[in-house]
Symmetry: D2
Subunit: 469 residues, 4 copies
């Protein structure tokens, strides 16, 4: 392990919490399966009970890391869990969450979905005052802020801490006495409340409720702090911010969320389906088949097919067995990676003109390889339609698009991209078109990655990048 | 490990071979990814080269077991690989293939897809003559038969050996001098030949060729022995059996094979699609949506939708992240397992009448749980349609349907099954209907699991079971 | 893992440091082998170089944990290493040292041999001011104290920190710029300076120098701070304490140190040998053989034999292959554990009267089992002689004797102990006798465990225990 | 893993067996600890009970490999165990014993201490007849011979098999019905019978009995076959060979066996002690101290000291913590390995003339390094005395001395060796002197490694080597 003082840019994650349940860790285990699409790098569960906090955190997917053996000691009746996204490069088990740390308040576990924009100055200030950091996560900052608070009540100390941070975040905390959750005052990341018998459940997406057959009660509002007393199981709601506004991340609907989830009352599948209809209107095509890049393109492809009358079919079969890390064996056979993930049905595709539906294009390399594979399976024409606008701006709120330079939409026009990926035609849904499909008003969404309009002011070193655009 | 003398009943597997390639083990690694759906319990590769045979075999999926580190020593320029199906209970790494054994012929590696029906008497005879077995696989029998042959030529010794066995099998062998493959004279399991540059490739399914961008040349014929000289790379074909007949397993098309594969010139997807059309005619339904159980029901569901005019949609989302072994946490929360695999899109399903398309019903328990989940998501009526006939007879040729008693179609009528799984209506495609969809004549297929007509006579203890029916 | 706020009582450890050497981590690896007798629970090395600090820390012995693979990335040209004692119960990899933490001073690694007596109030004070602790070690306290210092110079900040702590300690620190070491102002734990070519080496015992063929230059004085600039390799000495006094731990000579080590100019072997001579005078015995409990009783047994004229022999053979954790299989065969460690030579012992020499008796259970085994091998009379006085008082300076109640000398007289362990006679060397053998004056040693005279005032909750005696 | 047909040369091992005991595997685990000095490469236990044979075999030492978890499933009431010596180079887990194989006789486990001299022709003959080998061990040969026997009774089949083999061996077999053991008709390797309550125990050395507090009943005679019926627990003795003769390996007493063991009624310690007395007479020295190379030189050093009057002391301290594999870090610091194992007590040795007692010299490199280390600790004169004669001939009966060329005594005279290892004088005990110390007549021992007189005719390719001498 190498130690360098650096700041972690951001990541998409999933969080889950449950109270008042003798099977808390087992339900957390199941619930995290329902959030697994939000992060596969690491996972963890912490429970609170009469034995204090107990933790199991490890690398890899929920179903791979957790075993009967490591779940069994998690005996507490309240639990929080976390899954973390696999960012490129230096993943480090030390950053796996929930973190557990000990301060004068006792033990405290915390998990985060999102990204702070003032993490760097906060961290520098804390370090200057003598704080010692053990991870490079933004999760740890909140713990240090709370450790320095003079406020005795833990919820109040938490509120004091979150008033000092800026960004897009949902935090979940667990102490021996309470489970606390917050959705940032800009409402950028999703968080929902459910009910399972006498237990409260809280999760990044309702797909976690589906998996444990819990009822979806409502969503946490922008800027709302939820705290559940572990003794009484009473759920309390606070609104500690003066100003709050819902700016739900539009990219959650387009890409991150599971089609079966509802976010802020909207079905992810339905929005994608409608975006397909809109695409068919904005960028019609003459073709024999509508084919999605599975699975995230399926809903939009069904919409495109229904609106255009061109038959839908699953011309690309997705493999369910691709390991987390693919070994690209050697120079001479590079580029076959995409074939591990998708298999074209040659008999179906040979000689056909197709509309290929993809959720988004960020760097363009995957599209290039898919189209190459489709052509080698006999496809005559590829009319690619993208169910989201061009991603031109970096996300400072938790989605890792890579560097600004890697965003293909910053370097090339639509026709240049079409040429680069070897598509016969290419169309990106318009931002107004996508917004309309979403059913939200423009000011109810964060669409910064498409528009450059950031709802939360970004810290200097970051914003510089943004304003250069 | 416990040692008992027992006989292993059978299993579906995938085999792959390649010659004359400096990247033989890397291509085998990729090719096995394309056969991964045929078996996830164990996997292995053996290469032959100037350093003799080299082997890496282990538990789990190809992408999980193989690493740069264990692929690197596999330096030979010819390779065979194997994936093995996860049968219930006693999986044992000792049985993982390819097996490598040393006889007076030198080292020899062997992998098998299929099942011998005279394995027990052969094994008993060999043991009585002093042979010592190290695994419970049918693969090992062929090695002992070859070790006892006086025939000097390895291919001839192999032919002498396979003339003594009965069953459904494709064997692949690798020595320091040749790669040998055979498809049984009844033609029950699939095997195809391809070409990649100057290399010959052989695989259980053409999906393995797609993944390495190899060309599909032709299928191995029933009873054909293929041998490739590793020095000259010359491929030779022998037909050592007096009688041969193609009886391709119908269940391969229905369930096992990948939709993107072609077997004996037929597209798996197309046969499934046509079976959906037939189903719509044989068992029409009044409904709002056609919904497949993903992924194996998708092709038939598209056919049903096109034939019936009822809109197709993906109302169940399949999870890509389910670990190999699911920990069913405790008594109180059992039955949630199916929710780990599939998530219903509530907004789409609520209040709807659906046609639910599944590839087959073997035991009925999964269907019961899926329908229960769909109803809890608001579905009003479930009209279940099955793209294969009722499975009433055990398979002695390599498919593990469990015990005879576990086959629900042996205990219950269609209406009883409908009631048991809580479907509003239930229809299984007729066997003639499925045959017609397949485009094969009745005597060109093995449909024993549906019809009880076994093309290969089954050894006493097995056949007893069969004739009791 | 379970999280409870608790304070770790203390432990014996070994530390090693080296500068200015391209093979720093390799020499640290070898040097730690020479300190392995001081702790087998965990081990670790941190190097400093152009790539910053790099760390490898793990459970178990140096030779078991370290591999070429985990040593290779430790590329820095300065290194510190640590071995930690296996205390009973909750060992935790999180406490393995050296610790590495990041503060506004950058990365800093630290390892400790010893124990602070004011750890609890210091920790409480730091936590109240917002510090968050990640381990339960006393090593971490020094880092927090340094993080809160306004002093820019690292050595000065370290001095500021150690002025706030009380106890018996040797700290070793490594930053990207310097290696710092200190021996506490009471001089309780040992620390020596050596030279290997152009490299400075520092270690808890000279046995670490022997293993790398380094020259022993001198010992670090009580209260001396050594700092070595990694750029110039200049070694600087500071004496920041007003009062210092040498009170070397007498138990180091009796038990902990390796017989081949020299501490403060005295040979450990020679002191033990002389204690055997004294024992023979204080507690003579009529016997046929002098037999040591190997290996720590060997030196004293040789002295006893020479002084008494009774022949010395190795009647107990020590096993070199006992694993770290012994599985005591089941109720019916308990008590055989001592036989795994020692084997009696029956032919030698049968019918003999023996003098059995042991370094110390803390709880008495081992002696009981050894004598039982010797008697079953035919020994007629066992005259046990102990080369240290009765251990009646707990150690607050780093030796874990277990709880006060476990010290047999607190509950029983010499004759009661003799009866309990089934010895025909029993004699403990007198404290003046041992002191004389050591060659130190009474006020130059810490003999608190024998005498109750603690050179460093112990914090209330601890001292209470002490003064109750 | 690479597969090549080769023949394994030989190795020293330990075997253990127990019957009629509910804790059979636990006692085997403990008993193997008592044989650990005979082999540290791999270890294993197989039990027989109502569940058939159950096996746990793995790399490394008994205390490292076995855990509660892998011992627990070994539920049978009879057990055999094995430890295997670490030969240089290609150790392979596949060769770890006991082997378990399945033939028409059912499952059979076997472990071997020793080496066959006609293994190669036997193996070639078996392979030519169709046998397939899975390991390169001589243990497997016996199983194949038994598998080919027409004899129904297992003991008789075993006897038929051992009549075909030649060499120095003790086999132990376990089936579901009996435990069988044999000592070869030349009596080269040791094997003893003990009693523990109602259980029979058999072990390579009595040190295994000491550890479980079992009684040593008698030794197995040369050529005696012991068979214990697992149902009746009756022990039966057969003498199936026409001619038998005790030729116990003299090197067992000198080096391999534990000093606490008795072999054929002789104490290993006593023979070594007497050899020290003889050495003092044959090669007296003027010196200040007698110092053993610990631990195997201790007994002889005590004898030398008593005979010469020169004081004995432990001037070299052996480390107990050396890991199995030592990483010799890099070119620049090679040669420090011996310092990991032994530490000189400088204060004791400085300026002294010493007699250094070692059990044997095979290659000479270790002696060279020890003397170098002693001189750097100040020793003035080193008079080395070796408690065995010069090893000039290879062992074909199970001891791996390396190649003929590596035996220093074949290349150099005593004075040349003295010069090479930098000793002031050097003396090897004479063969008659050692024999006399052993108390055996010349024709009761195998001293081939010293004398070249091999009691068992060696197969051509081997004997050639021998007679070239």
């Amino acid at each position: 392990m190498s130690y360098k003082t650096y700041h972690d840019l951001g990541e998409e994650c999933g969080i889950f919490g449950i109270t008042n349940n003798a099977e808390a860790s087992n339900y957390a285990y199941l619930g995290l399966h329902g959030l697994q699409h939000r992060g596969q790098e690491s996972c963890g569960i912490v429970t609170a009970g009469s034995d204090g906090l107990r933790k199991a955190v490890g690398k890899g997917k929920v179903g791979d890391f957790f075993t009967e053996e490591n779940l069994k000691p998690l005996t507490g009746t309240a639990a929080i869990g976390h899954v973390r996204y696999s960012t490129t490069g230096g993943s480090n088990i030390v950053n796996a969450q929930p973190l557990v740390m000990i301060s004068h308040r006792g033990s405290l576990a915390v998990g985060l979905n999102g990204n702070l924009v003032n993490a760097k100055p906060l961290r520098e200030k804390l370090e200057a005052e003598g704080s010692i950091f053990h991870t490079t996560t933004d999760s740890e900052i909140i713990i240090h802020l709370m450790a320095r608070s003079r406020e005795k009540n833990t919820v109040m100390a938490f509120i004091e801490a979150i008033r000092q941070i800026e960004g897009a975040y949902c935090y979940m905390l667990l102490t021996e006495k309470e489970l606390i959750a917050v959705r940032d005052p800009h409402g950028i990341r999703p968080l929902s409340i459910g009910k399972l018998g006498d237990s409260h459940v809280i999760a990044s997406e309702t797909s976690a409720f589906d998996i444990i057959a819990a009822e979806h009660v409502r969503d946490v509002a922008a800027g709302e702090v939820i705290s559940i007393d572990l003794t009484t199981n009473e759920l309390r709601s606070d609104f500690p911010f003066k100003e709050t506004h819902e700016h739900m991340c539009l990219f959650e609907y387009v890409y991150f969320a599971k089609p079966s989830s509802d976010i802020l009352g909207k079905s992810v599948h339905s929005i994608r389906y409608k975006s397909g209809i809109t695409l068919a209107k904005e960028y019609p095509a003459k073709a024999d088949l509508v084919i999605p890049v599975p699975d995230s393109g399926v809903s939009a492809a069904l919409g495109f097919s229904d609106a255009s009358g061109i038959p839908f079919t699953m011309g690309l079969v997705r493999s369910h067995y691709v390991g987390r890390t693919f070994i690209e064996p050697s120079q001479s056979i590079r580029g076959l990676g995409v074939r591990l993930k998708f298999a074209p049905i040659r008999k179906l595709l040979d000689g056909k003109r197709i509309v290929l539906i993809e959720d988004s294009i960020v760097r363009g390399t995957t599209s290039l390889r898919i189209i190459k594979m489709l052509r080698s399976a006999g496809v005559k024409e590829v009319h690619m339609r993208i169910a989201s606008p061009m991603v031109k701006f970096p996300c400072f709120y938790g989605i890792d698009f890579g560097t600004y330079e890697e965003l293909i939409a910053n370097k090339k026009s639509v026709s240049e991209i079409a040429e680069m990926i070897n598509a016969d035609s290419l169309g990106f849904i318009s931002l107004p078109g996508l917004r309309e499909a979403s059913g939200f008003a423009a000011n109810e969404l964060c669409d910064a990655c498409f528009s450059g309009r950031y709802p939360v002011a970004v810290e200097e070193s970051h914003s510089k990048l943004a304003f250069e655009v």
